[in-house]
């Protein structure tokens, strides 16, 4: 039954207390032609601590720590600091830092029984309309390997996680935006 899928997902997420990985993202249109390819790195630490930095082709950084949300567009040199608000974060990374209750409250969760062997694939359909209409999470041997989503333009985003490290101690500074001149300088390379 579906709640069993939600429980399974929560168990897997709970096993991934922290994740650090690089990612490759491909956004393609409904018809399948590739619109955009980007890459970057993520760091997640439950609950509510995440860092999503895309470095190519544009440089955009989102950091949340449950209290504050930083969004920095390095190309535009635009920093936006707001009280933490899931809606504003625009990133599916929130799923990992969301508490089990928040997860089951916000999404219909089911399992794709026809997923490839060794892969646990969960399908999340948001109850409220927002950035995406469908999100899929794939785990292999308990670790997150891929995320797919259909966004509000019916575009398909596929995010592959590479060189993922799980449950390692993550430096707290990862989850604070460093607006010192040197850090901003580094970001604008």
């Amino acid at each position: 039954a579906s709640n069993n899928a939600a429980e399974q997902l929560q168990m897997l997420l709970a096993k991934n207390q922290t994740i650090q990985a690089s990612f490759e993202q491909t956004v393609s249109s409904e018809e399948g032609d590739v619109l955009q390819q980007s890459q970057g790195a993520i760091a997640l630490s439950r609950p509510n601590h995440f860092r999503w930095e895309s470095t190519e082709p544009f440089h955009y950084l989102v950091i949340g720590n449950g209290k504050t949300l930083w969004r920095y567009d390095a190309d535009l040199e635009q920093l936006d600091v707001e009280p933490f608000d899931a809606q504003l974060a625009d990133t599916p990374a929130l799923i990992f830092s969301a508490s089990p209750e928040a997860l089951t409250a916000a999404y219909q969760i089911s399992k794709n029984e026809k997923a490839a062997a060794g892969v646990d694939e969960f399908i999340l359909l948001p109850n409220a309309s927002g950035l995406f209409s469908e999100l899929r999470l794939q785990f292999k041997n308990g670790g997150l390997v891929e995320m797919q989503l259909v966004d509000n333009l019916q575009q398909h985003s596929r995010i592959l996680f590479k060189k993922a490290k799980y449950n390692i101690k993550l430096n707290e500074s990862l989850f604070r935006f460093d607006d010192s001149p040197e850090a901003l300088e580094r970001l604008s390379q």
Binding site: Y60, D90, L131
Partner: protein, 167 residues
């Protein structure tokens, strides 16, 4: 030297891709822009969320502009009207010229050009536009544009100028 900047003889299409940011007292938006212009009644303007996820698309055809926002579709007479409805109140009509380093036609303006004939500053429709960089010293195509009007601020970084494929 302050002179009259080139008035467009725009007939060939164009296609730009880059990053766009818009600020006002209570809105802050940024993301990717993909804009193809074949002629005033045949354009596709796409704004994508900062991480490539989500966004909006405005298509103009003869006599009609359509906004695609999620499953909803909205119709209006102009792309400008639809952009404002979608939370991006951009001066779309004039921007079609400004992004090309030109002034919009039929409207009073003050412009300044550099010795190689590139527009560096322009005032039109109450907006103050600054051309911060061009593709290269002789190219007429801007790369970095900043425009302000009152509390509104718009920044555009054009990464690619492509040829439009207009059926």
């Amino acid at each position: 030297c302050a002179i009259n900047p080139p008035i467009p003889t725009e007939n060939e299409g164009w296609h730009l891709r880059g990053r766009i940011g818009y600020w006002d007292t209570n809105t802050k938006e940024s993301g990717s822009i993909d804009w193809q212009y074949c002629d005033p009644e045949n354009t596709v303007l796409k704004l994508q969320g900062p991480l490539g996820i989500g966004g909006l698309k405005i298509i103009t055809q003869p006599g009609l502009a359509t906004l695609e926002l999620g499953e909803q579709q909205y119709r209006a007479e102009s792309a400008e009207e639809l952009a404002a409805r979608a939370g991006w109140p951009l001066p779309v009509e004039a921007l079609q010229y400004w992004v090309r380093g030109r002034a919009a036609p039929h409207s009073p303006l003050k412009g300044q050009m550099n010795p190689s004939g590139q527009l560096i500053e322009l005032e039109q429709y109450g907006w103050h536009i600054q051309y911060l960089s061009y593709d290269d010293s002789s190219s007429p195509l801007p790369q970095k544009i900043e425009a302000t009007q009152g509390s509104q601020r718009l920044k555009l970084i054009i990464r690619d100028w492509l040829t439009a494929d207009c059926q």
